[in-house]
Subunit: 340 residues, 2 copies
């Protein structure tokens, strides 16, 4: 029995895949954990799962803490389910304490609102390496997809590069804002105005909703977007389920638009290309460069020289890279061992 | 005249360095822009500046939007200045719209509160590549350091991996919270409890301040920190400058503690080591891997096969990495050209 077999007890990863494909939610959850933890064997699991994926449509919701986007997403999920779709939810839980309680909110939500069949919720943390969240999210999307979900809804608070990267995985991106959070606070910067396919003004029964809609429209009239799709600005009151059906209609419209124009396929191809480039970089760094650079990297003496300003770190970096290149070419056998 | 000379007009980068070292704020600002934009010649500038750096002490302030940390930082800066220190401030401006107005707040502040000599403020955006902010911040710290600043204060909202990485650059980290933002919201997760050297309960004249102090103390009593330094919990009312002098005293205490125990030097050595590792990785990726991988990367046909689930991206990645290794070893000349 190999190492992954040991870790997983009697369920080998491949057995879990089989069970998951047959509909076991328990196997689904265990597989996600296995992939998140990068348990040995997880890359073989991903290869196998990949051939069962490709059907799910990914919708992202982003917005500040306090915009009510968790509640909105719950109702979007429920409405999509009512229409016969199978739904998966990924709630991004930032690792920082300063996020307006998204984490606890989600936990609460899970037990209260969404105790329904066919809606699977998974919280994910931004904890970990740079880019780690983005990679982990991609993987969880593929597992939920292979499991048979029609729609995967992803919720982030939208701050930080990691969350912005997650939004690159979505096919329809919904940007949620609310009146009264303070106008200056909510002035949209180009970054999010560009990624939003649908804009939602939630809590639209509050004062200032119309003005917020107008402000968003004004930004659009500045005309920095070139596609044919004109992002609709929807008003909702998530707590009362108002506007949710119309929002879901817009999501379906946007999906039809992307499919009709061949843009969904282009998006997916670009995304896979990007994903492969990132995996190639990571693989070369982790499996080749890091083992090779070991002997060249920074002795205490060298660090001391740098701290005392007898050397600078930039010149030292250049020397190390030169040494790595040399070593790499001198020892093809070593490399082939390492690279495998 | 080389390209960087052209871009910068009559001021060559090196001339700017000379002017900056003589005390020109204008040259300082232009150098920072030059480094941020990665203008050709900037790596030579960094090498040169490095030998003039090493004196500044870096203090980080992090906390949720609405904790008043900008105001607090202003007054910390003013108090340090009063004690005869030269101060630089780096305000991290997250690229997202959902950050509680830190950006506009900073802008406002700069013109209003801090129109004082010897306090230089620079806003930085999280926009850009993963890790870009962290690298850019490191560089700006070094420039401000070489310029002669004694203390560099860095402010972030603390959400997102990029901001957490920035806090790795600080020598004393201050975590700011306030009563009444909602207890659940502010429950500290281990990540920030671990990086805080000083905890501040700001707006301490509001209800619930004492309870918040107790909550933080309770977390500490759980005893997950092993150093001798026991993070003090300070109460401040930044808008009234209350508690600021005591806070500055704690900052100076912490600095003395780090220096006395030899920990400052260890911190700086570890940081330089980490920085070199990152630069080595980036250099190898950008200058060697990316040019080499070009011919092996993902044709439209291949992408099509992947989208249609005839191939999987993981196996394709493995093939590409194998090809790159082979090409790398086959053509040393090509590599040396590329690597330089």
């Amino acid at each position: 029995m190999n190492r992954s077999g040991k870790i997983l007890g009697k369920s080998s990863p491949f057995k879990l895949v089989d069970e998951m494909l047959k509909g076991s939610v328990r196997a689904l959850s265990r597989l996600i954990t296995l992939i998140e933890d990068e348990t040995p064997g997880s890359s073989e699991v991903l290869k196998r799962i990949y051939y069962h994926s490709g059907n799910a449509y990914v919708v992202g919701l982003t917005g500040a803490p306090g915009t009510g986007k968790s509640t909105l997403m719950d109702h979007v999920a429920i409405e999509l389910k009512r229409q016969g779709f199978k739904i998966g939810i990924i709630a991004i839980d930032p690792s920082s304490p300063f996020t307006g309680g998204a984490f606890l909110g989600d936990r609460l939500r899970m037990t209260e609102t969404l105790n329904e069949d066919d809606i699977y919720i998974r919280s994910m943390s931004t904890r970990g390496n740079l880019g780690g969240l983005s990679v982990a999210t991609k993987n969880v999307i593929k597992i939920l997809d292979a499991f048979g979900k029609d729609f995967i809804l992803i919720e982030t608070v939208g701050t930080g590069q990691a969350e912005v990267d997650v939004m690159k995985e979505t096919e329809t991106t919904i940007v949620v804002s609310v009146p009264g959070l303070g106008d200056e606070i909510q002035i949209m910067k180009a970054g999010v105005m560009e990624i939003g396919d649908i804009f939602v003004v939630n809590k639209a029964d509050k004062n200032g909703a119309d003005r917020l809609v107008e402000e968003i429209e004004t930004i659009f009239r500045m005309g920095f977007r070139s596609e044919e799709w004109v992002p609709p600005i929807m008003k909702t009151v998530a707590t009362k389920r108002e506007g949710v059906t119309a929002l879901v209609e817009k999501i379906l419209n946007h999906r039809e638009y992307l499919i009709g124009k061949g843009l969904l396929r282009t998006k997916r191809m670009n995304r896979i290309q990007q994903e492969i480039l990132e995996m190639v970089n990571a693989k070369i760094i982790n499996e080749i460069i890091i083992p090779i650079r070991e002997p060249y990297i920074v002795s205490e003496k060298l660090l001391d020289d740098i701290v005392l300003r007898r050397k600078d770190p930039y010149s030292v970096t250049e020397e190390i890279v030169d040494n790595i290149i040399e070593a790499f070419q001198r020892s093809p056998k070593g490399v082939n061992q390492i690279g495998k």
